[in-house]
């Protein structure tokens, strides 16, 4: 019954810096099912953000995705078999139709995620203008039809009729000649204006769906006129604008104060239900994971070391690193990952074999030679550790 919408296989991403090659992701395995929230946790620098950027193929030079597969299920009918597509084998142009449309991302810091020189409307509308042109054209045509019905003067009817034919031409072929001419013709503003009004309506709509009071007012503000919590809501509205299949939230509540944090988390949970999208939720706050996620993947130094359902993971952690993480959490109070013995490894010369072995109390001799594969050790419980296999021989 559960349908995979994202399957990452053997994903490797490197950064070619002056100091050397940073092996940021070393064969990531991860799946996200339809309608599910998967948490991705790990210490700072373990590669959570790089994973999310790799999914969207937004790794910029000096970084490069070396190998792997990112199989994603499209929401719309397409030429691909069962709508499954390997994002890594697609063109950059194709990826642009995915970003913000099929997969959206909320970045770590809300305050810098919004462009200071554009209004909220301009920024949310951009998503509609990028991905839902034809819907906007259809709505524009519908609006023109209404105006034609109301128009009394015949020349007005005629100009509206002309406008309608232009939009119909645009609807049929978005790269048609009229579209190109309207793009830079000074008179084109009239038609662009109508489209922008349609997009604005949708922006107000989405803000209203997020439960924001008087969205008509918020929509004309600039980011600096909004509070941190409101900025983050706008960022979320922007991400959900085109109703994506997958939402990647990269620490969406860092830098917000605690009450606002709780509100934003509630919002994401509600929206997930309302929009029926799946969420990849990145955090280093285990408390948030327990609250938000169905399943959790634990990451260490560019590897996934354990994946399990939330309850299972908290009740029965198998990986030494996960255990250490859970022990490091003072129950009830502050729930941040911190103070595990040893240093976070440097990813230019990572430890051989299991990258955790220098810090692992249970390390075997094989650990420093062979990288443990991620295997299903209990039902729906995946683990990458030699010790477990040895113990249960």
């Amino acid at each position: 019954m559960t349908e995979k919408i994202l399957e990452i296989k053997e994903l490797k991403t490197n950064f070619y810096t002056y100091e050397g090659v940073v092996k940021a992701l070393d064969g990531i395995q991860l799946e996200v099912n339809q309608g599910e929230t998967v948490g991705l946790v790990g210490e700072t620098g373990c590669g959570k953000s790089v994973t999310s950027l790799s999914i969207l193929r937004l790794i910029l030079p000096p970084g490069r995705i070396e190998k792997g597969k990112i199989i994603f299920k499209l929401k719309q009918q397409s030429r691909f078999k069962d709508n499954y597509v390997d994002l890594l084998s697609q063109s950059e142009k194709f990826m642009r139709t995915i970003r913000g449309n099929e997969i959206s991302m909320i970045f770590q810091e809300a305050s810098s995620a919004l462009n200071p020189v554009y209004t909220v409307d301009e920024q949310i509308s951009e998503s509609f203008l990028l991905h839902q042109k034809s819907q906007l054209y259809q709505e524009a045509i519908r609006e023109i039809d209404q105006e034609i019905n109301q128009a009394r003067i015949s020349w007005k009817k005629r100009t509206l009729g002309l406008e309608k034919t232009i939009f119909q031409a645009l609807l049929n072929n978005q790269t048609s000649l009229p579209a190109k001419i309207l793009g830079f013709l000074p008179g084109g503003w009239k038609y662009r204006g109508r489209i922008k009004r349609q997009a604005r309506k949708k922006s107000i709509e989405i803000l209203a769906q997020l439960g924001i009071a008087n969205p008509e007012n918020i929509v004309d503000r600039y980011p600096h006129e909004l509070s941190g919590g409101m900025q983050q809501r706008v960022v979320i509205a922007m991400a959900l604008a085109c109703n994506p299949n997958l939402l990647i939230a990269d620490e969406p509540t860092s830098n917000l104060d605690v009450t606002i944090q709780a509100q934003i988390l509630d919002l994401i949970r509600d929206l997930k239900r309302k929009f029926k999208s799946s969420v990849l939720f990145i955090t280093h706050d285990l408390g948030v994971v327990a609250e938000m996620c169905d399943r959790v993947a634990v990451m260490y130094a560019g590897n996934i070391c354990e994946i399990a359902e939330v309850k299972e993971l908290f009740r029965n952690p198998l990986h030494p690193y996960t255990k250490a993480l859970l022990n490091a959490v003072p129950r009830g109070g502050k729930t941040k990952l911190e103070s595990i013995e040893g240093n976070v490894p440097n990813l230019i010369n990572p430890p051989s074999g299991c990258r955790f072995h220098p810090r692992c109390a249970l390390a075997l001799s094989v650990c420093s030679q062979v990288n443990p594969p991620l295997l299903e050790r209990a039902k729906e419980h995946f683990l990458a550790c030699h010790y477990y296999g040895e113990k249960n021989k």
Binding site: R99, Q108, A113, N115, P116, V117, Y118, H131, H224, M238
Partner: protein, 344 residues
């Protein structure tokens, strides 16, 4: 409404600025002895015998503040004095020399802004690539060249080795005669513009040919400066979170650079454009003198050398006025581009 009140306030502020500027000029004049200043009025060697008379007739022995109030009185009657270097009243001379300078500025300013911003953007987008190294080296060289030195270099090359290709002054002999003829209507006194309005392409291209070297001399330093500021602010903008957001939205690279990064990166360029304008005035004096182009800068340079007091006073006040107005425009533009800035 708020904007209009702001503009009115700023325009009213011009008056104290002008008073201040004129006071400074008079204070400098007070450093000279009456005899030294009288020398400025002597056109004939025989007048030397009666230097006292010259001093008295021009009121040069009165205390400075009296001279200042005399001068103010004249100004209120619309009389800025007689410029002996221009052989015209100062106000008339100003409007006589203005068009040539406006023409120079009209060609230079857009060039500075467009080329500077364009090169800065390219070099930031291709950071570390060959084109970046080339434009940066070019900018360092351009920025370090003193304007007069660069102008003289061009002068040497084009007048010395390629005679007649890019000649000095504002127009050639033949075009100059044509311009002054009955058949040519002078709408604006700006040569290129008038030539186009008259449909005379010979004059147009001749004027253009005479513009090339001064424009290059004038723009090179400022282009380099705009380019360097643009490059660094563009790099800063491209590293911002909103750029990642734009990419994650599905915007293409062109939109990311032009719409999201550049608008933000322009803000520092606008803030320095007031300073750029000061550089422009300074450059105009040097450039027009080097290329013997009879505009305001040329006149001012000669007035200063010949102790043409009314002309110097007038020119300082004119440039202060222009400077204040440009700064007002810059501030308005700044507030328009950056919504975080509030006028007040």
């Amino acid at each position: 409404m708020e904007v209009r009140a702001y503009i009115i306030r700023r325009v009213l502020l011009i008056i104290p600025v002008l008073v201040g500027v004129s006071l400074i000029v008079f204070a400098i004049l007070a450093l000279f002895s009456p005899e030294q200043r009288a020398a400025a009025f002597i056109t004939d060697i025989r007048q030397l015998r009666d230097i006292r008379g010259v001093i008295r007739s021009h009121g040069l022995d009165a205390p400075v503040y009296v001279q200042y109030f005399n001068w103010l009185k004249e100004v209120f009657h619309g009389n800025l004095g007689w410029s002996k270097t221009a052989q015209r009243p100062v106000l008339t001379a100003f409007f006589y020399f203005l068009p040539n300078t406006v023409e120079l500025a009209l060609f230079s300013a857009p060039l500075v802004i467009l080329v500077g911003i364009w090169l800065g953007t390219i070099s930031a987008v291709h950071q570390g690539k060959l084109i970046d190294h080339l434009t940066r080296t070019g900018a360092i060289v351009g920025w370090s060249l003193p304007t007069f030195w660069f102008g003289l270099l061009l002068l040497m090359i084009f007048y010395g080795y390629f005679r007649g290709l890019l000649p000095p002054e504002a127009l050639g002999t033949q075009a100059g005669l044509l311009v002054r003829s009955e058949a040519f209507t002078r709408y604006t006194h700006i040569n290129t513009l008038d030539a186009l309005l008259n449909g005379n392409f010979f004059i147009f291209f001749d004027a253009l040919r005479h513009l090339i070297l001064p424009v290059i001399t004038l723009t090179v330093v400022q282009c380099a400066m705009v380019m360097r500021i643009m490059r660094s602010s563009m790099l800063e903008a491209l590293a911002k979170g909103y750029i990642a957001t734009a990419r994650a939205k599905g915007a293409d690279e062109k939109t990311v650079v032009r719409k999201h990064a550049r608008r933000n990166a322009m803000i520092p360029v606008i803030t320095v454009s007031g300073y750029l304008f000061a550089l422009l005035i300074q450059g105009v004096v040097i450039t027009e003198t080097i290329f013997n182009r009879k505009g305001l800068g040329w006149w001012w340079a000669r007035a200063a050398v010949n102790l043409d007091v009314p002309a110097v006073l007038g020119s300082v006040i004119f440039s202060a006025l222009i400077f204040v107005i440009t700064n007002l425009i810059v501030d308005l533009l700044y507030a328009y581009v950056d919504p975080r800035v509030r006028l007040g």
